[in-house]
Symmetry: C2
Subunit: 457 residues, 2 copies
């Protein structure tokens, strides 16, 4: 499997030096992402792409290339795979579409292709996919020009049945400063399927969380057996769960739908985290990077009274409690107040405490309480107020570091959000050593995901 992600050399079939050619983008994506291996562009007509001559005689290819990426009409895929086999290429990504998902049944092209790969013992990703983006090796096989420099390295790996979702998830993981290790578009799963990818990623050192987006599940029993023994969180977004989508899924990736209720029950038992959108996938990824939430008891601290109320509602909705805090501790926290016009409770309205020391004191002492399992913290940031209080971004960086240390020392999570303009929220996400959520209610939803995951482990 490793050759699919860390090949030392690749051959790209279907390249042409013409405006509309898509395969040449595979070459430029890899170069832009600083893929270190050799790249051999192969095509029908002479020319050059990215300064490399197109090889028109596949027999001229050296022996020992690790991976072929093939984007040519379906009718020619089998003979190209035969060339690969003869050249000792044992791994291929078939990007070409127009197989079973188009005709609704096994076509002659598909049959021929399978016969060739069987003869040469070639392993396939696809067909009908955009292959692999691996931030660790720089391999980037999608055939749309992606400008992959934007992609951020990180600990999430995603296996998905959709090319569009591959790209959209790569954006989202990067924009949310999570980053990713591998995103794999698996298409029709004619050879390798989610089980193979899951097994590989379970042993992959660069992957801390495995995310799967599936339109069909080939072997549910095997999936749940594997998941039960995975030492890493497995998050699954199963689409194609409705009558409306079942037809389009068949023509998208030849996917057959599964009984949704059975899927739900099996996932739960296997400790698989189920999500219903890519946004929720990202939420899970962040949530599971926090220390484990071992119970339902939260302390809620918000710099806005209105959001304290909203957070109280959210806690109850998601099955949390906000236990009373010791009077002695509340008295101490109240001593940091400025106007003396807000009483402290849980949820705690910190709108009256314009003191970073007071905030740090409250967070640390609440998190240390035996009857508190985690903290929801909604900070307020306004550059005007920060200026008034003599606070710069250094100050916030210090606070973020302090929260990180406190959280790790207690091994309990702090779910942090900012009440601010989006530009500042984005800036804090970027500099924070731990995940920052997009709004207060989202931070409670994240803690629910975290708690439920650890409860089932």
């Amino acid at each position: 499997m490793k050759k699919f992600f860390y090949p030392s050399s690749i051959a790209v079939f279907g390249v042409a030096d013409s405006l509309g050619n898509l395969a040449k983008n595979i070459v430029s994506n890899c170069l832009e992402m600083e893929f270190k291996g050799e790249i051999f562009p192969v095509g029908r007509n002479p020319g050059s792409v990215n300064g490399q001559n197109i090889i028109t005689e596949p027999d001229a290819l050296p022996v020992g290339i690790d991976l072929a990426v093939i984007l040519i009409p379906a009718a020619y895929v089998a003979e190209t795979l035969d060339i690969c086999g003869r050249k000792g290429i044992s791994h291929a990504i078939i990007s070409t579409a127009g197989f079973r998902e188009y005709s609704g049944k096994e076509s002659r092209f598909e049959k021929d292709m399978l016969a060739v790969v069987k003869r040469h013992k070639i392993r396939l990703i696809g067909p009908n996919c955009i292959g692999v983006i691996c931030t660790n090796s720089g391999l980037c096989t999608p055939f749309n020009p992606l400008r992959p420099k934007r992609f951020k390295k990180g600990p999430i790996s995603l296996v998905t049945q959709s090319g569009g979702l591959t790209v959209q998830a790569a954006h989202l993981y990067s924009e949310e400063h999570l980053g990713f290790s591998k995103v794999i578009s698996i298409g029709n799963k004619l050879d390798l399927n989610e089980i193979d990818y899951l097994e590989y990623l379970m042993g992959d050192e660069d992957t801390e969380q495995i995310h799967l987006h599936l339109e069909s599940i080939e072997d549910g029993r095997k999936l749940t057996d594997l998941a039960r023994n995975a030492g890493k969180p497995i998050v699954v977004f199963k689409s194609n769960v409705s009558d409306i989508s079942s037809e389009i899924a068949k023509s998208h990736t030849a996917a057959l739908s599964n009984n949704n209720r059975i899927v739900t029950g099996a996932f739960r038992q296997a400790g698989i985290v189920r999500v219903k959108s890519i946004r929720e996938m990202v939420l899970c990824a962040k949530s599971l990077q926090l220390p484990p939430l071992a119970g339902d008891r939260l302390a809620v601290i918000s710099l806005s009274g209105g959001f304290s109320v909203i957070l109280g509602d959210a806690c109850e909705e998601y099955g949390f409690e906000c236990p009373s805090l010791p009077r002695e501790l509340l008295d101490k926290i109240e001593s940091f107040r400025r106007g003396g016009v807000i009483r402290m409770s849980n949820p705690m309205d910190f709108g009256d405490v314009h003191s970073i020391e007071g905030l740090a004191f409250a967070v640390e002492h609440c998190l240390k309480l035996d009857h508190i399992d985690g903290i929801v913290l909604a900070l307020f940031y306004d550059p005007g107020i920060a200026k008034l209080l003599g606070q710069g971004s250094d100050n916030t960086q210090q606070l973020l570091n302090f929260l990180d240390e406190t959280m790790n020392a207690c091994n309990k999570p702090i779910a942090l959000s900012f009440l601010s303009e989006r530009q500042y929220i984005e800036a804090y996400k970027k500099i924070s050593p731990f995940p920052v959520f997009n709004d207060p209610v989202e931070s409670v939803q994240a803690l629910r995901k975290n708690r439920n995951y650890w409860k089932r482990r």
Copy 2:
């Protein structure tokens, strides 16, 4: 009421020329937002703010000022209101906190204050609030330095019980390019309450949608009676709906909770759109700016097969159908395909049609069908691909204009989203003449809000 939003002159009480003074921010916020009226800063000690001398003798104030904004300790509010009364000021925003929400009962300060306003017939916003931001007049009374130039003018007005939410909503409405007309922080509602604001906004020409965030409902019957006859959408976010939040709400704005089930039923009957977060509020605002969705039958067009499947699931989840489209129309649309590898259906996977003409044709002809009530459209944007196809932003602007015209000609909604990096999604939101949603599933959620609103009217 108009004097609360369009005063020709205001007096700000509590101003000092010192670093930590908050009332002086009221003056600078108004100036920065280009408030055209006169501003009289009043304080105990001489000095100047924003080039204006602080008036230390309230008797020196001219007669006929329209509005007082008061941010001084609770103990002195009554006597200041008495001065206002003597100077003929009949409208006051009391920003000061520390009344009923702190003590849990009517205090002497509150009693004194009420006696004075009764005697002078002064109308009050607050206490315990941050007052009004009116993008039409430039009035901006919050006491935090807001840099209100960022706020965008628009057709939404919001009444909220939370200062934090006031500011956060002003950000969100502006960031989503909706803009707002008035945001009103109403605090403890000691005099004017949501009914008064609602009545005013129903007649306000600058307000096309009325949004309310309430921690308590003072007179549910009156609220629903008014709503039933409102010619504009009324969207309500009722917080303080749980046991956990009821305590903190009391100490936040002295709000008592209401029976949530009764609220739900009454709202539904009155055609009030209920939401559960400010994000959902923004979603509603966008959704209700689209033409009405008169039924459940949607055509779904997505430039990614994976999202076609996801959108099919979302349609079913939110109670929509995706009826079959006429074969003749599908044939015509298929003639625009590039690779000829994707079959057209509903939901429609447009991944194979790299043609703006094909897209325009499909959208227009689907929307004109008698058995289609609206369209869900998930476009794909990648600058690399746009360059390949010779498309610039002009081209997208043309497409957006075309969609806008088509939608208005048919009087049916198109719920548009982009599969792209966030920076491009934001750019399209900015240039689009109609709302653009943040992701495909959100666009279906928006259509649900739209359909349900019109169904109940």
